[in-house]
Structure formats: C-alpha cells, structure tokens
C-alpha cells in the first residue's frame, strides 16, 4: 500500500499542506505587519505637526519651531538634477545594451558591472562624488555636485530597468517592422520604445523614490545642517529631508524639543517616497491591462 492513498493518508496530506501554507505565509504577513506598524507609528507621531505652515516655512527658533520648506525644496532640487543627468545617460545606455551591443565578452562584462554598481554602498558614491565633482571638477559643495553624485547612484538602476523593459518587447515587433523595410532605428523607435516606455518610466519613478531618501551621497557633497536662504543657484549649498531628519534625531542639542519636528520630517519624506512608489504601481497596473501581447 502506498503512502499517498493508504487509510488516513489524505487527512495527513491536507495537514501537511496547511503547514506548508503557514510556513510560507507567516513571514510575509509578519513583514507586512511590521511595515504597517512603522508607517502607523510615524503617522501617529508626525501628523500633529503637519500643517501648511510646517510645509511652507523655514525652521525657526533653533529648529524647535517653524517648518521644513528649505529641506523639501533642497530634496526636490537634487532629485531633479540627478534625473537630468541619469535619465538620458541611463536610457541611452539601456537602449544600446538591449538593441545594439554585440553579444561578446566586453558586453557581458559591462552588463555585470552595471549590476554590481547597483550594489555598491552609497557612502562609497558619496566619497567618489567629493573627489570627482567637489574637488576635481571644482563644483564645491553644491546642489550640482550632490545631484550628480545621486545621479551616479541611480544610473545602474535606470540602465538595468531600461534594458529589461526593452528586452521584454517581443522580437516579432522588430522583425515585422524590419520586414516592411524600416531601418533598425525606425523599428526600435516606432515599434519597441513606445511599448517599453511604461517599464522605463516605472524604473525612473522607483529611482526617484530611492534618490529622495539617500543621505550618504549628499553628506559630503553639498547638504548643510542649516542655511537661512533657499538655494539660489546650482552652486549653492542646501538642506535636505533625510539629512535634516538625521540632524534632528541625533545631532541637535535639544533632542526632546525637536522630536515632534523630526517625526513630521520623517512622515513627509516617507509620503514623498510612497507617492512615487504608488505612481509606479499605478503605471504597472495599467500596462498589465493594456499590453495585450503579454499573454
């Protein structure tokens, strides 16, 4: 008699199946609960200080009062500078790798280097940014130097997602266009890129979310503890949300008094990141509905 069909075997198999389900599901739910707890804790402690004034005023009275406007502007500005650099470079590189690069040792080496760069600790990028942008290129500690450093952090992610989005387009679209007498570039531009665009955009939005929260790359390249003015050029120093949070949470001499402001700052940063993640999610859902060839 075999084990699967013997008397009592089926209840035993059912029980085994339930155990399997639990083993797989419990860690997931535990993780989700943890994330919800974190966000809930932030909201509970930070919502009190959120107000129009908090978002539109600079810090006052030694940061114990006022708002975080310079930090929001600084973060938006460096994020924008980083994208202005990393999106064109990343997208062009991704197109080249996916469509033009010959499949040889060099290309494979480049591809795996890109993957490895994505895993380099961001403090390493920060120090590299000091050496290259701040010192060698003489940009000083500035929005520009920080933005470019963040751009380097983003670049491998954007190249990789862009290449993947393009490679996911069926080759029959390219072949069909070529067989009608289009050039290779026409086939790519008209019959590949439009369909890869949502995937590329998702990658860029996720990069935005990551950039906004990075602290190490801006630490030595431009961010400042406190400045009375908003940045008035790309060569100004600036305040930023993640660094402001770090300052308030660990460096301030009146830690207890600035705690509510710190929670508010954390909440704004998390909402900023969630906004872009949500946007990426919505685009992904829409694509899943409209890309009918992905059966």
């Amino acid at each position: 008699m075999n084990r699967a069909t013997g008397p009592g075997a089926i209840p035993r198999r059912r029980f085994g199946s339930s155990i399997g389900f639990a083993v797989l599901a419990v860690p997931l739910f535990a993780f989700i609960a943890f994330v919800l707890l974190l966000v809930g804790y932030l909201v509970a402690n930070g919502i009190g200080v959120l107000s129009w004034e908090f978002l539109s005023k600079p810090p006052t009275a030694g940061m114990t009062e006022g708002g975080i406007l310079p930090c929001i502007i600084g973060t938006v500005l460096v994020t924008f500078v980083s994208l202005a650099f990393s999106v064109p470079v990343g997208v062009f590189s991704g197109i080249y790798l996916a469509e033009y690069a010959p499949n040889n040792l060099l290309t494979r080496a480049i591809r795996s280097s890109v993957r490895s760069l994505a895993g380099v600790p961001s403090i390493v990028y920060g120090l590299f940014g000091v050496a290259l942008f701040v010192n060698a290129m003489n940009l000083g500690m500035s929005v520009l130097a920080s933005g470019l450093t963040l751009g380097l952090v983003n670049l491998p992610w954007i190249i990789a997602t862009c290449e993947e989005a393009i490679s996911a387009i069926p080759s029959s679209f390219r072949e069909g266009a070529l067989a009608l007498g289009s050039t290779k570039w026409e086939a790519i531009r008209r019959n590949v890129l439009p369909y890869a665009f949502p995937g590329i955009l998702t990658g860029v939005l996720l990069a935005v979310a990551r950039t906004a929260g990075e602290t190490a790359p801006i630490l030595f390249t431009g961010v400042t503890y406190y400045t009375r003015q908003l940045p008035n050029s790309l060569l100004s120093r600036f305040m930023a949300l993640p660094y402001h949070l770090f300052t308030l949470a660990t460096q301030h001499d009146k830690i207890a008094e600035v705690r509510p402001v710190a929670f508010g700052t954390a909440l704004v940063l998390v909402l900023f990141v969630l906004l872009f993640d949500a946007l990426a999610f919505v685009i992904r859902m829409r694509v899943a509905r409209t890309n009918t060839w992905q059966v």
């Binding site: 010959p102 029959s172 679209f173 009608l180 007498g181 289009s182 050039t183 008209r190 019959n191 890309n291």
Partner: protein, 253 residues
C-alpha cells in the same frame, strides 16, 4: 506573365557558424505564380525564404555565398539597398505578428515609414490593401480597434494586408497557416491563389496537401539540398527524385 522568371536562385550556400544549412541551392521562381518550398522540418526552407528579402542579415553567424537575382540584380550586391529590397519583397511570418496598434495603424505602418502619401492617400491605400487581403468587410467598422482583438486567421490576413500595402512585387509567406484552424487556412489559401495575379508569391510549407492546393511550381528541399523542382503537377505525379517520392508517400515528415 506566368512562366517568366522573377527570382533566380543560383548556387546558394548558407552557413550558420559551422553549420552548413543550405547546399548549392538553385532554381527559378516564375512571375505571377505561386511557388511552394516544401520539405520536412529542419530542411532549411524558412532559411531559404529569408534569404530572398535578406532577413538572415540579422543573424550575425550567417554566411551566404551564391546569388539571388531579382530583376537582373543580385540582392546581395553592395549596390542593393536592403531597405528598398524589403519594400519590394514583402513577408508574412509563421506566427501572426500584428503590432499592438489599431487595425488601421498596422496597415499604415509601412506606408508611414516609407512616407508613401499624405493622410488621405494613406487611408485609400490601407483600404485597398485590406480589400485585397479579404479583410475589409470584416473590419471596416472597427478600424480603430486593437489588432489583437482579431482572430488568428484575421490577424494573419492583416499581416498580409500590411505587407502588400507598401506595394511589393513579391510576397514571401513563411508557413502562414501553421497557427491557423482549418477554416481560416482554407480562406487564406483561397486568398493566396487570388493574389498571384498581382504578385509573385513564394510560400514555405511542410504540408504537401497545401502545396498541391495552392502552388503552380514547387521546390522540394531535403537536409539543405534541393532534391527537385518544377511544375507542381509534375513533381507530385511523376517525381524524379527518390527523396521526393518518399516524402510524398509519407515516409518522413
């Protein structure tokens, strides 16, 4: 008219890396007729078809010697512009490959690329191509629908319309019915026979009944070698080559 040679294939050899795929293939394809390339799977018939519009150029390991002469010019001569060649030699693939655009834009795709006419002219040419492909009546009220909403057989006729819209003289069909049901296949075959009045048609098929139904001439390929070619009637009733005979008897396939 029929009988006059449109495409002459001469001493064609093709290697993919170390693999000798086509061996000294040579035969003539007559104008305004349907020529079938038959043979068991893996014999190189699709590869041969893709030599005619130089789609094998895309495969880096492919090495081609010999000539394919269309209108007195070798398509592999450096003077030939491959973009223009592919406009003159249309192709329909084995699996219907509509683009994820509207039905109208699918057919207009080639016209836009080659800048053939303004929007009014494009509309007229799209309609003409859809009529020729026997699809107009079925889609005229839903030209803006996504091409993926069509059935498999309709998709394949759409691909045919897309190929003939740019005004080719030759149409290559690579097992166009292999993914279709019998009813759609019959419709497509009827269409192929109709289209030979205007185009020179080359069809690859592993289905010998289909070759017998649609073709005027046929070539039989076996392990990369041309076993036999001639009028379909003659090849089917009085094959000269033992291998053709065995294939027709169903000894392999």
């Amino acid at each position: 008219m029929s009988g006059e040679t449109r495409i002459a294939i001469e001493n064609l050899n093709l290697h993919f890396g170390a693999n000798h795929v086509l061996r000294d293939v040579g035969f003539n394809i007559p104008a305004n007729a349907v020529t079938a390339i038959m043979g068991p799977s893996g014999c190189g018939k699709s590869t041969l078809l893709r030599c005619i519009n130089r789609m094998n150029d895309l495969i880096l390991s492919a090495r081609i010697t010999g000539r394919i002469v269309i209108d007195g010019e070798n398509v592999y001569s450096p003077r030939v512009d491959v973009i223009d060649l592919r406009r003159r030699v249309g192709m329909v693939f084995q699996k219907p490959n509509p683009f994820p655009k509207s039905i109208f834009e699918n057919v207009a795709f080639g016209l836009r690329i080659h800048r053939l006419g303004d929007s009014g002219e494009i509309r007229a040419r799209v309609e003409k191509a859809l009529v020729q492909a026997n699809l107009w009546e079925e889609v005229k009220d839903r030209l803006q629908d996504n091409a993926f909403s069509l059935s498999g057989g309709q998709q394949q006729r759409l691909c045919l319309a897309r190929a003939i819209a740019v005004g080719p003289e030759i149409v290559l069909l690579d097992e166009p019915a292999s993914a279709l049901d019998p009813h759609s296949t019959a419709k497509l075959e009827e269409l192929i026979v109709e289209l030979k009045r205007e185009y020179t048609i080359v069809i690859v098929t592993h289905n010998m009944q289909q070759a017998a139904r649609v073709s005027d001439h046929c070539a039989f390929l076996m392990l990369g070698e041309l076993a036999e070619w001639g009028k379909t009637e003659q090849v089917f009733t009085k094959p000269k080559d033992k291998r053709t005979e065995d294939f027709l008897m169903g000894k392999f396939g």
